[in-house]
């Protein structure tokens, strides 16, 4: 038996076409290997923002996980972080619960007991309780909206009146569905907003659960006269979060929040504009031009574009033949980043990412510039046999890439805060430069 991780070159994929992407590169077609990338998705407590952390991005909220014990097991990784202390609670399902569904009847009392526990321990009473349910209730067809309404009603008369109860669906089973968990949880979060008077000088940036990094976008908005730029992660209180309903428009920075943006458009009359994170400065420039035109503002981006281009040039000058390996456990679309780096004049030897049809366009263009770039899928079982000795890279980007290539300098680039625009390009180039400099030293 040949011990070899399966890969396809960009050229091979181009020849097969968009409608014939190899099954080994697609999600959901085979058993799933537990690489760091799949773990980051599948193990919401492991890192990044899964459903649990996402649900708790609502200020002054707590979460009750109603599920078999196994579903909450790894939450201790998150619970140990100071910002999540006393915010996770568990109602463990038993086998009889599975058969009778009686766990659902226990939820109102469990919420009350949690609130009393917080009160008795002199903790702040939360403004919202997020109920996290998992695959079992997905299969049981539980109407969680009704369960939450009932629980909210049960709190209506008494000291906990006004506490909101909302469902968070941690349904890994629906990962490739129309409303995967990370889409749904964003809808849940923003469903807490209620209509209020509009403020022409307010804008929301939605999609992330941690703030944007120090990106030029914020400055452009301020220069355009926007006084209130809100992101959920920068709202310190529930009241401040509710003010997001006053926004004149939303800026969508992650496609997974598009459904929530649609809801807000419909229910709160807040239209949205979508901006994509890319690593090509020309594309960033044209995106800002389009954004300025639609939003009716002026954006002068020449200085920031120059800075980003200079960072690229500095890296290129120091390491003219630089070869990258790129993972998907990173603040980038691995295929778009690979294409951008190749257009900058660098080489990309390997990519580790599942190839969805919508990313075929990047691979198609990549194949024309770098036909030999190898594409592996993090989920493919044969990744068990991936051997670093095959790789020609000088540097890797992504936490998963480090896992596969532990001896090559790495820039994880998977921080919670979100790089964006020219700032993303500039900082990534500088990080790569520093990583290589450090390795050389």
């Amino acid at each position: 038996m040949e011990h070899k991780a399966v890969y396809y070159t960009a050229e091979e994929i181009l020849k097969r076409g968009k409608n014939d992407i190899p099954s080994e590169l697609q999600s959901g077609m085979s058993l799933v290997y537990s690489s760091p990338a799949t773990l980051a998705y599948n193990s919401p407590g492991a890192e990044g923002f899964g459903v649990k952390r996402a649900g708790l991005s609502v200020p002054e909220s707590v979460m009750l996980i109603v599920a078999p014990g196994c579903c909450g097991r790894n939450t201790s990784l998150i619970s140990s972080m100071p910002e999540y202390k006393n915010r996770f609670f568990y109602l463990e399902m038993s086998e009889p619960d599975l058969v009778t569904g009686r766990h659902l009847n226990k939820i109102p009392d469990a919420i009350r007991e949690v609130l009393e526990f917080l009160r008795d321990n002199r903790r702040k009473i939360p403004k919202a309780v997020m109920i996290c349910i998992t695959c079992v209730d997905a299969l049981l067809g539980t109407d969680m909206d009704r369960v939450c309404r009932k629980a909210e009603d049960a709190l209506a008369d008494g000291e906990f009146a006004g506490v909101k109860v909302r469902p968070c669906y941690m349904y890994a089973l629906t990962r490739e569905g129309r409303r995967p968990p990370m889409v749904h949880v964003r809808q849940t979060i923003y469903s807490l907003l209620e209509p209020m008077q509009k403020d022409a000088h307010s804008v929301n940036i939605i999609g992330g659960f941690a703030p944007l990094e120090n990106t030029e976008l914020i400055e452009y908005l301020k220069l355009a006269g926007i006084r209130n730029i809100r992101q959920i992660s920068t709202c310190r209180t529930y009241e401040e979060f509710l003010q997001m309903a006053s926004a004149n428009f939303n800026i969508v920075i992650d496609p997974e929040v598009r459904a929530a943006a649609e809801d807000m458009n419909k229910n709160l009359n807040i239209p949205y504009i979508e901006l994509t994170r890319v690593y090509s400065t020309d594309k960033i420039s044209s995106q800002y031009k389009a954004f300025a035109s639609v939003a009716g503002i002026d954006i002068v981006d020449s200085e920031e574009k120059t800075e980003a281009d200079e960072a690229v040039a500095r890296l290129k000058k120091a390491y003219p033949d630089l070869v990258f390996n790129i993972g998907e456990c990173t603040n980038a679309n691995a295929f778009e980043l690979a294409l951008s780096l190749t257009r900058m004049g660098f080489k990309v030897d390997e990519i580790y990412a599942a190839l969805a049809p919508e990313n075929f366009v990047y691979v198609k263009n990549l194949a024309l510039l770098s036909p030999d770039t190898k594409i592996y899928c993090n989920m493919e079982p044969t990744m068990l046999y991936y051997r670093i000795s095959q790789s020609k890279a000088h540097v890797t980007v992504g936490k998963d890439a480090k896992f596969y290539c532990p001896d090559i300098p790495n820039v994880a680039w998977n921080q919670d805060t979100r790089p964006f625009g020219y700032q993303g390009v500039r900082d990534l180039m500088n990080k790569v430069f520093e990583a290589l400099k450090e390795a050389k030293a």
């Binding site: 058993l31 290997y33 196994c70 579903c71 695959c135 044969t382």
Partner: protein, 311 residues
């Protein structure tokens, strides 16, 4: 309220226990889930994952696979992987998903076995029991499939139940050959609750002792002590001369249990034991101290990976 946890996070579940037993045996282990359960195992409950990779995979189930009971698709995925991964047998491990749809593990095992030419075992875990139950089920499945009635090449001694979930970095792995020859082994040692169950299942004589704590009383234990860990850890300390009661969130066999010992399930039961017991020392994972912040006695940190996830 029964089942409500306000301080502690859930303990290692049965599927983690089963996977832990299988980890060192060269199996192609398939956890029948959508991804999250495997994430919990490899990303949290398996401290060996980042050092020695084993063939642990998620079945990658999706809603329609579960709703329509697409066992044929699962068998095909396993066949495809088994053709490309070196393995001596396939182990399928249950989770809440197959428990909810009522998967027939015997039939599933038969279906998979009909597609591949290596042995298959099925471990009927459901994610709602604790890790010791999963370890027990894994041992039983391995013994049923592989243990020879009259082995020719048996070891002098085998320790059962000394897994990372109970002992962290002090674990002792056993191999598939150990299981094959287990009926002929000179001496069986049960190092944890699941070890007792496995030995009982074999119907052989065995010794109940923790090799880690035999003649090794942790520093700081003094006076009347409450030991909260696996029952065998408590028994070993008691046998070594510690004046203790045993509290365990896991199983407490009659063969170990003495007056004052208690199998506990809820946070409140532990709190009550500590508050009412008048113990000079509590020997338990330090994460449990959060339940009794007002306890003023002596606390000895007896790490238990299955409780806190600390090695």
């Amino acid at each position: 309220m029964k089942g409500l946890r306000k301080v502690l996070t859930p303990f290692a579940p049965d599927q983690s226990g089963a996977s832990g037993v299988l980890y060192s045996m060269g199996a192609l282990t398939v956890i029948i889930d959508a991804g999250g359960c495997t994430g919990n195992v490899c990303g949290f409950d398996e401290p060996r994952w980042h050092d020695t990779r084993s063939a642990v995979f998620s079945a990658g189930l999706r809603d329609m696979d579960a709703i329509l009971g697409r066992d044929e698709l699962l068998a095909s995925k396993i066949k495809s992987a088994a053709e490309r991964i070196d393995t001596s047998f396939v182990a399928v491990v249950g989770t809440p998903v197959p428990a909810t749809i009522g998967t027939d593990y015997k039939a599933l095992k038969k279906l998979i076995a009909s597609r591949i030419n290596i042995p298959v075992i099925a471990v009927p875990t459901n994610g709602m029991k604790l890790y010791n139950e999963g370890e027990k089920e894994a041992y039983k499945a391995l013994i049923d499939e592989f243990a020879a009635e009259d082995p020719s090449d048996a070891k002098e001694q085998i320790v059962l139940g000394m897994t990372p979930l109970t002992y962290g970095k002090d674990h002792i792995d056993i191999s598939l050959d150990d299981i094959r020859n287990i009926r002929g082994v000179g001496k069986l040692i049960a190092a944890s609750s699941s070890g007792i169950d496995a030995c009982m299942y074999l119907g052989r004589e065995y010794e109940i002792v923790s090799p880690v704590y035999r003649n090794n009383i942790p520093e700081g234990i003094k006076g009347r002590t409450l030991v909260c860990h696996d029952e065998v850890v408590g028994k070993t300390l008691r046998d070594a001369g510690v004046d203790c009661d045993i509290a365990t969130f896991f199983k407490l066999h009659d063969i170990v249990k003495q007056d004052g010992d208690k199998k506990i399930t809820e946070e409140d039961e532990f709190i009550e034991m500590v508050r009412e017991g008048g113990y000079d020392t509590v020997a338990a994972d330090i994460c449990l101290k959060e339940l009794v912040p007002d306890y003023e006695g002596n606390w000895v940190d007896l790490k238990c990976f299955a409780i806190s996830g600390r090695t």
